[in-house]
């Protein structure tokens, strides 16, 4: 049962087409890596899946149970965040907001959930630290925790390793892999790290100027060798 199906997607912005003819689907527990050159439409595709952009043509359908707007998202860092005065706990708690409720405070259940996820990602000791004073790897883990707080179905990660050193990158990939394998959370990751994509992902979507590839990692490897 596919969790997310894209049919004949045509993507672009301001009248410019960046990718077209994209057809692929993702099942629960899949680990999809989206590869491609700069400007091939990776980020546009991400924003379209998140429904922040509208596709120029084609359709995206979500499986029942995966409500619209219920995708955990790890965006690329914005300049605003670099000097934002917020504690780690405040940021992760904001992932609880999508459960609605008009009561203007976070519930005890929300707090407990956040605490559990912080422990899972080994950042509980950072709870009261200021976000902007953390290392790049720690910041990414905080944002990952926030995404996990928002949903336990599907995570979309936009270049999560950008700006991290080698050790930080490896650590982050391990955590993401664990989330995927142990908690069976579907991962869609935008990346330009081919090597990591091939060793972790179950499926690859390669966006290209002429045509795009979608298939399992094995198929992708096979195709590359020819």
């Amino acid at each position: 049962m596919a969790q997310l199906t894209c049919r004949d997607l045509k993507l672009g912005y301001e009248g410019r087409v960046v990718a077209e003819g994209l057809t692929f689907s993702i099942c629960k527990g899949d680990y999809l890596c989206i590869l491609g050159e700069n400007g091939s439409g990776k980020s546009t595709l991400a924003k379209t899946i998140l429904q922040l952009n509208k596709p120029l043509a084609g359709s995206i359908t979500f499986a029942e149970g995966l409500k619209r707007n219920k995708i955990g998202y790890l965006p690329q860092q914005t300049p605003v965040q670099r000097d934002f005065p917020a504690s780690v706990q405040e940021i992760i708690l904001s992932g609880c907001l999508n459960r609605g409720g008009l009561f203007p405070f976070y519930s005890r259940a929300d707090q407990q959930k956040v605490h559990k996820i912080m422990k899972q990602l080994d950042i509980a000791h950072l709870a009261d630290r200021c976000y902007r004073e953390l290392s790049g790897g720690q910041q990414q883990r905080v944002l990952l925790a926030r995404a996990l707080t928002a949903t336990q179905e599907l995570l979309l990660l936009d270049e999560p390793a950008a700006g991290l050193d080698e050790a930080g990158t490896k650590e982050l990939y391990e955590i993401i892999d664990k989330i995927n394998k142990e908690a069976h959370i579907t991962i869609i990751m935008i990346s330009h790290d081919h090597e990591a994509a091939l060793s972790y992902a179950s499926h690859i979507l390669h966006l290209g100027k002429e045509h795009s590839f979608f298939g399992t990692t094995e198929e992708y490897k096979g195709g590359a060798e020819k």
């Binding site: 219920k70 605003v80 934002f84 005065p85 904001s94 907001l97």
Partner: protein, 289 residues
């Protein structure tokens, strides 16, 4: 010193002075709360721009001899604020130039209109009043106090009720939208509140100095505190304290014997507080290392 205090006590026994103090504090409270959001959204200048637009609208209202100028000024300013803040962060790049254009445009047109069609003899005085804050804060009536009180209550209520959403939309708009928060609606709310606060606050410090009320307390708070809640609370306290002190200082006799402009005094106090907080922030940094 005690003489000065006595004089202040004497002044505050007059209802007009008391009203000025109450209104000043309420306005400062709203402006400083809002300031945190605007500074973090990289929109510090929006207050300045909007107040220029409000000045233009005010000039038209004066020429039309409306009995209540707010009826024209408030809707116009809210409309412009919504247009500017509509797309949130994404509008910033183009919004920057648009804002500058709108601001100086309305300022020039407003001044032109007042000069051409103004009925009062004292054009320079009128303009100076709108730009740098009026002594009219001393001639406030009870209705003005009520309007300010209601607006302040409204802004406070919005901040208490939507505190979490305002945080989410300010920190990361894309994430908020992706996980199902109606960011458009909250941007609209922030824009409307901004416009209301600016228009009301123009009475106090005038359209040229309004940015100070909005950004100084927030910036001061951000030097010292490192989580959002503390920054918001500290900003509110700083804003209120600076307004209180500034208004009292402006009541005191000046060394040169001339009248002390209230708006400029409040801003000067804000500046002083900012410098102190910046020093504390630096000190904290060094002691931590």
């Amino acid at each position: 010193m005690s003489e000065a205090l006595q004089q202040i006590g004497h002044l505050l026994s007059f209802p007009f002075a008391m009203r000025a103090l109450i209104v000043g504090i309420l306005i400062a409270l709203c402006a400083s709360l809002l300031g945190v959001t605007l500074v973090l959204k990289r929109m510090s200048f929006i207050g300045d721009g909007l107040s220029h637009v409000a000045f233009g609208a005010l000039a038209i209202a004066m020429v039309m001899q409306l009995t209540n100028e707010l009826l024209l000024v408030l809707p116009v300013t809210i409309l412009v604020a919504i247009l500017l803040l509509r797309n949130g962060r994404n509008a910033k790049i183009k919004g920057d130039a648009t804002l500058a254009l709108l601001a100086v445009g309305s300022l020039a047109l407003g001044y032109l209109i007042i000069n051409l069609f103004g009925s009062g003899g004292n054009v320079a005085g009128d303009v100076c009043t709108t730009l740098f804050g009026s002594t009219s804060i001393l001639t406030l009536e009870n209705t003005d106090v009520w309007i300010c009180g209601i607006m302040a209550a409204l802004v406070l209520l919005i901040y208490v009720l939507f505190y979490r959403q305002i945080f989410a939309v300010t920190f990361d708009e894309d994430f908020a939208a992706a996980t199902g928060i109606n960011t458009r609606a909250y941007n609209l709310l922030i824009a409307t509140v901004t416009a209301i606060v600016i228009v009301i606050a123009m009475n106090l410090v005038g359209s040229l100095l309004i940015s100070a009320l909005v950004i100084f307390p927030a910036l001061a708070a951000m030097r010292v505190f490192k989580n959002f809640k503390a920054v918001i609370l500290c900003s509110a306290v700083v804003g209120v304290a600076a307004a209180f002190l500034g208004i009292l200082l402006s009541f005191m006799p000046s060394p040169t014997g001339k009248a002390v402009p209230m708006g400029a005094t409040i801003v000067a106090v804000n500046l002083g507080v900012f410098v102190i907080f910046a020093l504390i922030g630096l000190l904290k940094k060094f002691t931590n290392k």
